[in-house]
Symmetry: D2
Subunit: 384 residues, 4 copies
């Protein structure tokens, strides 16, 4: 099916999932039009498995109604967009069906739990694109203004040729070894641990900021806390809680990646340092409104990392918000994501990151797992 | 009139003003119920002078309708709350009329431009309170989680007896001497400059954090850029663009205040440092999610200012938002303000900061102006 | 007497005082020639009241001998330089005698405890200068490389016209109210408290960095802990432990000063923020190797305070030390001071800060005390 | 030969090398007794190849005389200690001869350029130790007070079981690709590049702080700038300018190491982050006086990385220096090193780091090189 583009009515949106990500996406749908000039939308329906809970969430988060059967929702003619916030193992099935039904699809990262699912999703997205049906994967940190600014500065040559990149994503919500077992710590449900959950963000950023592609990896995975209390006794943790990788990019840069869920004291610290031939950049998600920029071309006496408070109207996305110095938060990245998604739909262009870009990240993650399983030996990332 | 408390219908809200503050308050009204358990509300009507513009703003910010006559709105039975975001010279007239009409009133800070207006507003608020009609002044920074946490820690005795406080609020939006003349730079429209606009925040915080009252002040006002380009040539700036004061509090603490609109490089930097007998606290609004705490009772080898990332569920307001480490922004303070305002209304208690508290801040500001006009001589702050 | 300039022998140095400042000055004398090209010197004699202790100190700190009678030392023909590290009440007597004896004099700050003494010292220094006998007062923080760099940048116009300056010097060594009584807390021995001890540094920096002069002041003094345990019971503290002032400079800038010995958590934090029309600077002595510079003329997207690590050969004094990034400490400021003092002597030029500059600081301090005693009323700083 | 321990005369010291390290060591010898209670020493002789230059340096740095023949110096009965600051390829020959001659030996890191040389030095040191002749390798950063404090806190269990360590040492002095070729960039003279020069520091710290041993490594080496201008045209750079490794420690911790000489904007940034089960620590050499400590056992509301300003008398080495808040610099680490070396000699105990410890670091570096040459495959670090 093709999207109903001739209609003048607002775009109807359905979201699937009402937990953490559903709440964050709902917030973006509810607010995007208050700040950005986007095509009119209507929050039609929120979908979840528990009828009562999803009804409550729908009322709370601004949805007109709720539903428990996502297949039924896909059949509705008044739904133009499907936003998939369900767990990773459901991504492929829902996304492929939604695209087939002519719905534009936004799917949370990571694209899917397996390479096979990811491949199938890309095939579906490519076919749908020929019908004008758009798709996007939700690497929301691309829409952090400071990181969008970083990308602009790199693209403008402000740091010269990028040589060395340091990326880390450190959290500590699993530092307590008495924190209980969950589905996120089992390989069969979660796919992987810190690797898929947060290294995926780091790797997407590296490729996005440099506009480059990882070609080779060496990687290590480790589970510092191998068992945890479950409802019926101690259970084995079967995913990593920390990961390390060294990545080679096609353009010659080398990037290190380190992620952890047991880095006590780091709460949500995605850090990026990018060292170029004439300048450098540094970022920490815990200070989301700041970008550090070292301009190696300024007079030596004055050189230093400058703390850019990324809240000026000249900065990406900021003109829509508040006066300079009035900082924004984490949730705003989702609002920016919806804005860019809607803008792409309205102009008929393919939004980015595409499913293909999501697949490329999955390939890098997969190669890291292969390397880790083979004594860290260098593994080439396949391009198809 | 008394509020229509027996009704089961949602509380009807009218907001007056759709510029910067109107946008920020609207955002809070639109989102508060998505995150907090508050009485149901409806964004009924947005009021402004320009019919077309206010209609656009109403549509954009989530209001059901718009209007240009605030007096007419006060007569509507379906309006329970009036949120006054109009300029300061209109506060008194609207607030007094709204309270008389039995509407709960939230008014932006500062309470009013003159002491006479402020006094009248307090009288009206006190009378209205006897009818169960509530009122509040919008010192939103009381609802910064890090500052709310600071107040808790002080109240719990974590820093002992407060001795010395350093408060500053530094901005730079007027640093360029070619920035044009506006109504904000004329005394007759703005009342004062940096003093009323931003020192008011600093002074409210000092009194709020310490739960204490300023009794004596010495102050200095200065206009670094005394004239600016206007549409018909150079005009005189008749308000301060920087101010300094030293405040004595009833409990014995001494606080310094320095504010500026020409502090180049500081964008929206409300800084507070509170030094007590056994601990200290420090805060900067540009890092709104952080509080620094020095615990003088810990072992000397380990002492140091700790950077508390105020994003834990245990921190004020945070449980409603996102997981730890997922930071919030400036606008969230208004959402918290609405939440507390609605909670007070629903429980029939008087919200804080009350008009009396707003008046007390005005008295301090007034005393600073008196001192500045009298060669900085110490001026006592009247209590009535 | 005139200095023995025809001699080829090394300059003979005597230092008076072997406590904290004597130790710091000795370190500088012992090391200056290892890093800088200066006239040859010999650490001849260290003078103190306790024969045994000063002998020990002399041996430890590199002095050839020790003595207890400073008058006798002034008579020695092999002494060319007298470095006065004795307490403030002895400065005038020793300095005037040393200058009369034809010795170049370096005296620790503050110049003296009283205005009369300061005046007499200036008179003596002016007369001695006609004989080629040099004198200098030890505001060592002028020789912090980061602050010397700040002065250069200001002089080069890098921040335009200076408008607003914020200076503070916060310590906490008296925060504990059980810390015992000492001579530093009695007016008759110490002259003043935090004002003379640390506000003097702040005021000297303001005038030095801006190359400007304070003309008017308003000030406040306070003693948070008015009594302390002494050997024979509780004693009254008769000096301030915190002080506040607002200063007007001849060129139109306004500076605030706040100093404290009870600012718990701040150990030795001399902070300076200088806001100009096109740029700003910020410094904290606790990060002695860093200067923050905001360049308001760079593209808005890239603006921010840059952290200059002041360790490049292009930075003041640094070429003599270590490779870039190898930081120096607090004591190095004294080595730089000796270097500049010796260089001035060898070139026959008057070193800076001169006694006149020291006197000017005393006048500002005195005016602050007058203002504080007169309900903070504005006080003009006399020029003679 | 055995050391001449019965003598009452001061220990005679000879230093070999007068460049960067010779200057730093000389400074320490010249000053150690002014601050610490150590056995009396005399700076007897400075040795170098160029007679004029070494004579100048000796005069400047406080040595009684200079010499060009280190073998002759070893024969002198008045020399008790030999401090080897010569380049790495000379370490083994001089150290072994000095130990044979009964001289206590301090040798700069890295221990030697080759494993064979390192092994021979250890054999010599072990034999000499039986004669009471001591030896030490100069990993001076063990004597950074903040890092010494970190080690104490770890040993006391303040952070629980260490899990994850992040170490990096980033410099930028080779970031400019027009910076000329030097002996440091040729494998035959330098042994390796960033790996041996700065990764050695990082690896020593990891093992020292954790009191643990690296057992397995995976590593990557890279030369971002493969050729540089030489006096006769472009030359090949044959050492790495950046290196990455992941290390497994016997106790179960995993450490990442990343070092670079092209990390533009990082001047001398040795960073360490140590994440334990109940606390964490962080350090950056560019802020040498600071240690960050996260205490996971304090109440959650108050948790955060505290910035400990390591300048209290209670902190390692600090009591000898200045009052709290008066910061020290990079060079002080060498003074501390000499103090500990002398203390060990005077008590007849073996100083640390021993040559054995230096050898262990070499083994880890060697294993990283092996891994890098074998597609990053995991390499076991031999224990003998």
């Amino acid at each position: 099916m093709t999207p109903n583009q001739s209609s003048d009515r607002p775009l109807g949106v359905a979201a699937i999932g009402y937990a953490f990500m559903g709440k964050a996406h709902s917030n973006a749908w509810r607010n995007v039009a208050s700040f950005f000039d986007v095509p009119a939308i209507e929050q039609k329906v929120l979908v979840g498995r528990d009828a009562d809970q999803v009804a409550d969430a729908a009322a709370r988060y601004g949805w007109a109604e709720s539903a428990t059967d996502w297949r039924g929702v896909l059949e509705r003619a008044d739904i133009d967009i499907v936003d998939i916030c369900a767990p990773g193992w459901l991504h492929a099935e829902i996304a492929i069906a939604a695209l087939a039904a002519g719905k534009h699809v936004l799917v949370e990262k990571p694209l899917a739990n397996t390479m096979a699912e990811s491949d199938a999703m890309v095939t579906a997205a490519q076919e749908a694109r020929t019908r004008g049906v758009q798709s996007m994967v939700g690497f929301n940190y691309r829409r952090v203004p400071a990181l969008a600014l970083a990308r602009e500065l790199i693209a403008e040559g402000k740091i010269g040729t990028v040589r060395q990149v340091r990326a880390s994503y450190l959290q500590d919500w699993l530092a307590d070894d008495q924190s209980p077992m969950t589905w996120r710590l089992r390989q069969e449900t979660a796919g992987s641990g810190a690797l898929g959950d947060i290294a995926s963000h780091a790797i997407d950023q590296i490729q996005h900021l440099l506009q480059d592609t990882v070609t080779d990896v060496t990687g290590t995975l480790h589970t510092f806390i191998p068992s945890r209390p479950g409802p019926h006794g101690t259970e084995q943790v079967t995913v990593d809680d920390a990961a390390w990788a060294t990545l080679t990019l096609a353009g010659g840069a080398i990037a290190s990646v380190e992620v952890s869920r047991v880095a006590l004291g780091r709460k949500n610290s995605l850090q990026l340092e990018i060292f170029g031939s004439t300048g450098s950049l540094a970022f920490d998600l815990e200070n989301i409104n700041e970008l550090r920029f070292f301009d190696g071309t300024s007079p030596i006496r004055q050189q230093g990392f400058s703390r850019i408070l990324v809240t000026e109207p000249e900065h990406p996305y900021l003109e829509a918000w508040w006066p300079q110095g009035h900082v924004i938060g984490w949730e705003h990245t989702f609002t920016h994501q919806i804005r860019d998604f809607l803008t792409a739909i309205s102009t008929g262009s393919a939004p980015s990151p595409s499913f293909e870009e999501g697949l490329q990240v999955q390939r890098v993650l997969n190669a890291i797992q292969e390397s880790a399983a083979a004594k860290n030996t260098l593994v080439h990332v396949p391009t198809t």
